[in-house]
Symmetry: C2
Subunit: 483 residues, 2 copies
C-alpha cells in the first residue's frame, strides 16, 4: 500500500520519488462506489484522528456512518512511511501517558509498548549548538541546563512557574490573568527575559522554540508555549518527555488503523477516499456534501486553515469565518528524516538559530542495516519545490555535523492542500477571541479538529478529544430522533 | 436518596447516624425484579467505576447487560455524601488530567471544571508537624521543602530520580532492575536513606507515606511509592497535584451516575442492587450467579480482598487464589471528615508520626455556613466501632490543632464487607509475582478492578482502565458469536 503523500530522495543519485509506502493507505478506496445508497445517520468529513474517533464511536453505537476523505489514506497530519523496512513518522509522532485521550486509546488497543527517541549513551554522544553562526560542541547536560534556565525564565510569569496564571492546562483561559500573556508574541516575551539570561542561552532557547512553533518569534503567540509548558507539568523535562520522547513501535498509521478497522468491523461504516469535500449544504433536515452524499448530521474535521476553502451553505458564521481567515494556524514547521551512513549519530543532538531551514536535528533510531535515522525540524518559509526542500535541509544539517546522507524522507505540510500548515499553533491575541467560535456547531454541522481542542491542541490527543465529543453529541440527538 | 454506607456523628450531642444522603444510591434498586428473564450477553458483578465502565461500553455497543451490585449504590470505593448541603467524598476523591482514563471520561461528560482542595492564603495559614510527640508550627514552604528533600532521596534509586528504574510508569515492570526495589518494604528503603536526611525530615516523610499507604512501613511495599512518584512525573509536586489537589465540584457520585445513566439510556441495561454475588459458576456455555442469573460472559469487578470470599466453580486458579489470599491489598487507610466551627482552618495543614490514628489533616473547603471542612487521613488498626473511630479521630486532630468539631463524617472501608480495605497498595514482593495472575481471565469470567491496573492502580483511573479493557474483550467475542 502506498500513499500519494510524501517525498523520498535518494541522495547519491538525486532520484526523487513522490508517494510512500504506508499502512494507512486504504485500498480499495471505497466500499460504496459512487452511489448514494441512503441518507446516512452521520457523515464524517476527514479521516484524521478526529474523524476516525468520531466514526468509530458512532459505528459502535449502531449508527450508519459515511466517511469522506480527500486523501488516499487515513491519519490526516500523521502518517508512517515505510522505507526499506524502516518506519518514519511524517507528521505527528510522539505520544505520552499524560495525554489522556491518546493514552486511553493506546491502552484500549494494547499499544502501550513504546520506543524511545533519545538514547544518550552511544557514538557521537554530544550536542552541537550553532548559535548566531558560531558552532559549539557541548555535552547534553550542559545544553539541557542552558535551555532549561532560559525556558524557566520564559514561563515563570507569576513566580510560580505558571501555576497561578494557568492552573488548569486543559482549561487554559481559566484564570483571566492569562489574557495579558495571551496578547503577547514569543518575541515580546523573549524581550522581557533577555536581561536575565546569556546570549547563548536565549539563542539556544529560540532554536528549541522554533522547532515547537515552525514560525518566526514575532508571529508566534507566547500563550501556546505557556500551554505546552503547563501541560508538561510546568517543567521543561515534562514538556520534552510528553512532546518528543516516546514513539509507537508499529507507527501512527497502525494506530490509526485500529480505529478504522474497529469501525469497519461493526459493518456500519461506509467510506469513500479520494473524495474532497467542496460544498457542504445544511438543508435543515439533512446535510448534503458535493450535492451528492446525504446525512442527518455532519461532523467536519477539516483543519483550521482549510475551513475558508470549503463552500458552506448557509455560510459559516461571521465569528467562525473571521477565525478561519486570520489565519489561525501560523505553524509552517517542517520535519525531515535523514538516513545517515553508519551508527555514530544515534546519540547526537543539535540546535541552530537563527533558522535558515533546520533549527534542530537529532538521532532518532538505528535501522536494521545499521544506518542512523536522524530527524530534523525546521521552518518552511519559501514553500519551495520538493527537491529544494531536501537539498536545503541536507545542507543545513551538514553545517551542524558532518554526515553522509543516503536518503531524505519528508512531507511538505504547508503546500499540502489538505493541511495548509503543520500542527496548530496560534498567533498572539487569537485564543481568547476565536477559540469558542471555532468549537461552535452550526445547525446540523459539528466541527471537530485538534486545532481547537481544549487540552493538547495541535496534538493527536486534541484530535481524539474533539472527535469523541462530537460523536457523543451527535449520538444523543440521532438516538433521540430514532426512539 | 440515601445509602446504608457511611457514618455521621453530631459531636455536640454524640448522636450517631448510619447511612448518608448520596446521589449514587439507586432507587428503585432493580429494574428486573427477582425474575430471570433471559440469558444476558454479559453479567457485570460490581458497580464501581470498573463495572460501570464495562456496563456502559457494552450497552452502547448493543449488548444486553445485567449489573449486579451488593450495595444500594453505585461507585464502589467512592461515594459522595451530602450533609447539610455540603459534599464530602467518602472514598476516592481527587482527579487529574494526567490520569488518562479518568480525564477522558471527565472530558466526555463535560466535567472538567475543578475545585482546589488546598488554598494556602487565608486564616491559620501554617503547618503543624507533630513529630515523635514534639509539636512544631512551621510555614507551608518549609514543610514542603523538608518533605520533598526526604521524598527525593527515597525515590532517587538510580541517580535519575527513578526515570531509569521505572521509565514507563504505566508499565512498571518494564525495566527488570526494578525487581530489586519491588522486594523491599518502605521501612527497608527508609533505612537506606536515613543517614542522608534529618530526623524531622524523615519523620515528616513517614507521616505523608502513612497517608499514602494506610499501613505500617514494614508491611508496605516500596514499589508502590515509586510507582506514584513516577506517575507524578518523578516529582513530589506532581505526586501531590495528581493525588490530592483537584476535586469534582459535583462529587464522585455524580460522575459515576453519568456512566450509569448513559448505560440505562440505551435500554440495554438490567440491574439489581442489594444483590451480593455469592456463587459464580462457569458452565462452559454460560455463567450462573447465585444459581439464578445467567450470562454468556461475566465480568467480575470485585476488589482483590474479596475474591477469596466468593465461591467460584470451577475454583479460581491456584495462581489467582494465592494472590487473593496473601492478602494483596494491605491498605487500611482511613479518611475522616470534620466540620469545624469557623473559617480559620481553611489553609491549615498538618502531619503526625508515629501514627496513633490520624497521620494528616488539612483544610479542604469552606461550607456555605462558613464552617471549615477539614479532612483527615489515618490508619485503621483496631477496626473499632464507629463511635470509637470518630472519637479517636477527633482527639487526634485536636492534638494537632485546637478546633471545635461539630460533625464527623466517615466510612470504614476496612470493616465494609464489600471492600475489606481502602485504595489498593501492595506489600513487598507482590507485584512481580501476582499481577499477571490477577489480570488473567478464567474461561468465560473476566476480572476487572483497579487493584490490578497497569497504570493508576488503586485510583479511579485504574478502575476505568480495567473495565474498558474487559468490555472490549467481551464485545469482540460476543459480537463474533452473533454474526
Amino acid at each position: 500500500m502506498t500513499t500519494r503523500d510524501g517525498f523520498y530522495l535518494q541522495n547519491d543519485n538525486d532520484l526523487l520519488q513522490k508517494g510512500l509506502r504506508c499502512a494507512g493507505a486504504i485500498n480499495p478506496p471505497t466500499n460504496v462506489g459512487g452511489k448514494r445508497s441512503r441518507v446516512y445517520d452521520v457523515i464524517v468529513v476527514g479521516a484524521g484522528y478526529s474523524g476516525l474517533t468520531a466514526c468509530r464511536d458512532l459505528c459502535i453505537a449502531g449508527f450508519n456512518v459515511l466517511l469522506l476523505e480527500a486523501r488516499d489514506r487515513i491519519g490526516g497530519r500523521t502518517f508512517t512511511a515505510e522505507v526499506d523496512g524502516h518506519l518514519y513518522e511524517m507528521g505527528g509522532t510522539w505520544v505520552h501517558w499524560n495525554q489522556p485521550h491518546t493514552y486511553r486509546e493506546m491502552s484500549r488497543y494494547g499499544l502501550t509498548e513504546l520506543l524511545l527517541s533519545h538514547d544518550k549513551s552511544v557514538g557521537v554522544n554530544y550536542y552541537t549548538a550553532l548559535l548566531n553562526g558560531n558552532r559549539q560542541i557541548i555535552d547534553h547536560e550542559k545544553a539541557h541546563a542552558m535551555t532549561e534556565k532560559a525556558f524557566r525564565k520564559l514561563c515563570d510569569v507569576d513566580g510560580k512557574l505558571g501555576r497561578e496564571v494557568m492552573p488548569l492546562p486543559h482549561d487554559p483561559h481559566f484564570n483571566p490573568k492569562v489574557k495579558a500573556w495571551e496578547k503577547m508574541s514569543v518575541a515580546q516575551r523573549l524581550g522581557q527575559i533577555r536581561h536575565d539570561v546569556t546570549e547563548d542561552e536565549i539563542t539556544l532557547l529560540q532554536a528549541r522554540l522554533s522547532s515547537i512553533y515552525g514560525a518566526d518569534m514575532d508571529k508566534a503567540g507566547f500563550f501556546d508555549v505557556l500551554r505546552w509548558w503547563a501541560l508538561g507539568g510546568y517543567t521543561m523535562d515534562g514538556l520534552y518527555e510528553t512532546g518528543d520522547e516516546f514513539k509507537l513501535p508499529t507507527g501512527q498509521s497502525s494506530f490509526a488503523r485500529c480505529f478504522f478497522d474497529e469501525a469497519l468491523k461493526t459493518q456500519n461504516l461506509a467510506y469513500s477516499f479520494n473524495t474532497a469535500a467542496e460544498t457542504i449544504e445544511d438543508k435543515g433536515d439533512r446535510v448534503i456534501v458535493n450535492q451528492h452524499w446525504e446525512g442527518k448530521r455532519l461532523i467536519c474535521t477539516l483543519p483550521l486553515n482549510l475551513l475558508e476553502h470549503i463552500r458552506f451553505e448557509p455560510p459559516l458564521s461571521t465569528a467562525k469565518m473571521t477565525a478561519a481567515t486570520r489565519p489561525g494556524n501560523i505553524n509552517h514547521g517542517a520535519k525531515v528524516h535523514l538516513e545517515v551512513q553508519g551508527d555514530a549519530l544515534r546519540s547526537w543532538s543539535s540546535a541552530s538559530f537563527p533558522v535558515k531551514r533546520a533549527c534542530s536535528a537529532f538521532g532518532d533510531g538505528t535501522t536494521a542495516r545499521g544506518t542512523t535515522h536522524v530527524v530534523s525540524f525546521g521552518v518552511n518559509k519559501s514553500f519551495s519545490t520538493p527537491e529544494e526542500d531536501a537539498r536545503d535541509y541536507v545542507a543545513d544539517c551538514k553545517r551542524l555535523h558532518d554526515m553522509d546522507v543516503k536518503k531524505t524522507i519528508w512531507h511538505n505540510w504547508s503546500t499540502d492542500p489538505y493541511s495548509r500548515g503543520s500542527w496548530c499553533m496560534y498567533p498572539p491575541n487569537y485564543s481568547f477571541e476565536h477559540l469558542s467560535a471555532l468549537q461552535e456547531r452550526q445547525g446540523n454541522i459539528l466541527f471537530a479538529n485538534s486545532d481547537w481542542a481544549m487540552g493538547w491542541r495541535g496534538y493527536i490527543d486534541g484530535a481524539i478529544e474533539r472527535g469523541g465529543l462530537a460523536a457523543k453529541e451527535v449520538s444523543e440527538e440521532v438516538f433521540s430522533s430514532k426512539i
